[in-house]
Symmetry: C2
Subunit: 193 residues, 2 copies
DNA sequence: CCTACCGATCGGTAGG
DNA sequence: CCTACCGATCGGTAGG
């Protein structure tokens, strides 16, 4: 348990970097932007990170880790396949659109191309593990007769619909994360009145 | 009708810029990258465009225009709502994943945030018009009893599934654009065996 | 469209 | 973590 008062400058930098990478993109964000955001001089972030790329790495891995844990914690619920699926939709969307890890997840989705090959491979491994959870959820839905297609393409199309919400969702908009999750479930699974 | 032999350097620049913006991102692409790609010196692109931003504008508007035309040309077909819908899916995916305008459409989707407010407003107007076509297609599907939800969120989720294909589709992969379009139609509309 | 160049800014570092 | 700085690179321009 960390005390809230104890300053953790490294974490501050990661948070600020996440926000800026999300808002302006990695390439358009300067070290000076990040230093300003945490009240440091331009050379000081390098006391905590060797390179700008290392900051991106920290942000992306944090995003991958958060969403993985959030979805895993509801994926193996012993309820019905449909309930588990809807809980996974909610968890994914909350990571992506909700307060805390929003910038981390968004940076993961949009700035990973700036990762060097070694780190990218690291991320891809985690992503494959993550997507396997979804594949299993789709398989269970199909076995229960709720969907007809549990192929790889179906999974990618579904995750696309989820991930693209970053582009249009507004926290002050008219629909909640909960509603979006339910509408997507309805779209994929089928109609109820 | 333009002769193929007649060199059009401006169009060459737009094409090269589109490819580079798509591959590396707008901010990470330099004028020198673009000049190299078309065999010019670093100052020469500015004979054709006033700023780097104007090149982005040209690429994005070309992308918006192509996809708009491609989908519009099949949207008002007088066939069944389902056939029209599937044709729209194919047209959108072909623009996004097919050879010609791929880089333009991808740049439109991912680099629009670097547009200045005036140009962005221009793009948003065109985008709204584009999305209205999809809204109408969904309305027709609902009227025909093929889907239950033709709301704005449903439309955005659907377009998300389409747009995200840029992230995972590989031209040399195992599925064709045609197949992806059909699987998405099946996912949304309903099962056939 | 090239040559030659400019001022600004960038990621990163040495030394404290 | 700051001060002071460096070499490299960037978008853009003047003059031809």
């Amino acid at each position: 348990m960390t005390l809230t008062e104890e300053p953790n400058r490294r974490a501050d930098i990661v948070r600020a970097a996440g926000r800026l990478f999300h808002q302006k993109g990695y390439a358009a964000t300067t070290i000076r932007d990040i230093a300003d955001a945490v009240g440091m001089r331009s050379g000081s972030p390098f006391y905590h990170f060797k390179t700008k790329h290392d900051m991106l790495r920290a942000v992306v891995l944090e995003g991958m880790d958060s969403i993985n844990q959030a979805v895993a914690s509801v994926a193996s619920s012993d309820e019905s396949p449909r309930a588990a699926f809807e809980a996974m939709l909610r968890a994914h969307l909350e990571q992506l659109l909700g307060g805390e890890g929003r910038d981390f997840a968004a940076t993961l989705l949009h700035e990973s191309r700036h990762l060097n090959p070694e780190v990218l491979a690291e991320v891809v491994t985690l992503k494959d593990r993550y997507e396997a959870m979804w594949q299993k959820a789709l398989k269970d839905l199909k076995r229960a007769g709720l969907i007809a297609d549990d192929s790889r393409v179906a999974r990618l199309l579904l995750l696309g619909a989820l991930n693209w919400t970053v582009q249009w969702y507004r926290p002050d908009g008219s629909e909640s994360v909960e509603q979006i999750a339910q509408q997507l479930a309805g779209l994929v699974i089928g109609r109820r009145t």
